[in-house]
Symmetry: C2
């Protein structure tokens, strides 16, 4: 099953580089097998022996390294969200609000392209987490979202962008960027950086075009 | 379980209006229960008795109306895709390319807001379909995508839009619009029409801003 996984384009990405350095070889293989199983069949339909089998380990091996299947999911989703936050938190190369937003979107998109398998699990399988683990992930997501909010508010304040509704525009930009985990493949025509630069221009278009203010009727 | 489902905001939408008129009451209840089960746990983790139980029917009832659990999924996904195609195929009220694109995006987004549960299943559970059923759905999706391609090409041809890469821009606009099935709730602040109008302006911004041409390095 491990060999099968690595031959399927929708399961091939750089997610195995995300796992915390504290994990040994067997635990890392379990995380890599886990992210591919969850991306293929969903968390709920994945059995622990699907993961151990894909990792080439005995069926009891999972519990040597993780307390449960849910802990495998949590470690995957946490590693992904920590990595995204680190990428969007890098200081931008320039002080201009438009370039700042473009750099942010380009990095965020390139991350989701490069790690699209962990990205899919991190977006679609959150319902498998315990409430405590879910709360930990939401806190990481809020920090990432806050970086986008600040970039938009700054552009509006410095009049580089139109008078946009920052909450709704951030949500839309995140949708544009995140959805590519659903369809992006590393063997397609665009590299992560190419799709990142393209989407950066699209996001800038969203905030510089007219009409992106609060929709009529909002707040009623 | 039916009562539980209808109390969960992420499972409350107008999907029950999508089912083909040829289905009787019990079949419609099974489709409604099915779309909510698949949206909650995924197709693979849903058992036929989860569906019949949520529909308030005996566990054998599913096979009276559908050949298999996969046929329930197929009917849901086909109904959703046919409905989307009908909505984007309505003639726009105006002949102007910008207004045409905005109308198209507004209708497409409002559909995904109003039917977000069927929308989630239609986007995330396609791997549960048989190859034949999958091919049927892909053909419907291609017709919908073609409507967007024509709207973009027309705007470019008539110089209402910038010299955009229509393939990539259509994919991006579809991402922006489709991703809302992941988070949209009908009890939130924006109605389907409000979010539709807002996204229509964002999509127009994407095609009228500079820089949305083919990324450098493409085709190499």
């Amino acid at each position: 099953m491990g060999a099968q996984h690595s031959a399927v384009p929708e399961l091939v990405d750089e997610s195995p580089d995300l796992w915390d350095e504290g994990f040994g070889d067997a635990a890392r293989r379990l995380l890599t097998a886990g992210v591919r199983c969850f991306a293929t069949n969903g968390f709920h339909a994945t059995k622990t022996r699907d993961i151990t089998s894909a990792a080439g380990l005995s069926s009891a091996a999972l519990y040597v390294h993780f307390a449960s299947k849910e802990h495998v999911l949590f470690e995957i989703v946490r590693a992904a969200h920590k990595s995204v936050l680190a990428v969007v938190s890098e200081p931008p190369a320039t002080g201009d609000p438009a370039a700042h937003l473009k750099s942010l979107v380009a990095r965020f998109v390139a991350w989701h392209a490069r790690y699209h398998v962990a990205g899919r699990v991190g977006q679609y399988e959150l319902s498998g987490l315990t409430p405590d683990h879910y709360a930990t992930i939401i806190a990481l997501r809020q920090q990432t979202t806050a970086v986008f909010h600040e970039a938009i508010r700054r552009g509006t304040r410095e009049r580089a962008f139109g008078p946009v509704d920052d909450h709704r525009v951030v949500r839309a930009i995140l949708s544009l960027c995140v959805d590519l985990v659903r369809w992006y493949r590393l063997d397609g025509p665009d590299s992560p950086e190419e799709v990142g630069h393209f989407y950066a221009e699209l996001a800038l278009g969203m905030v510089t075009a007219a009409g992106t203010v609060t929709p009529s009727g909002d707040g009623v």
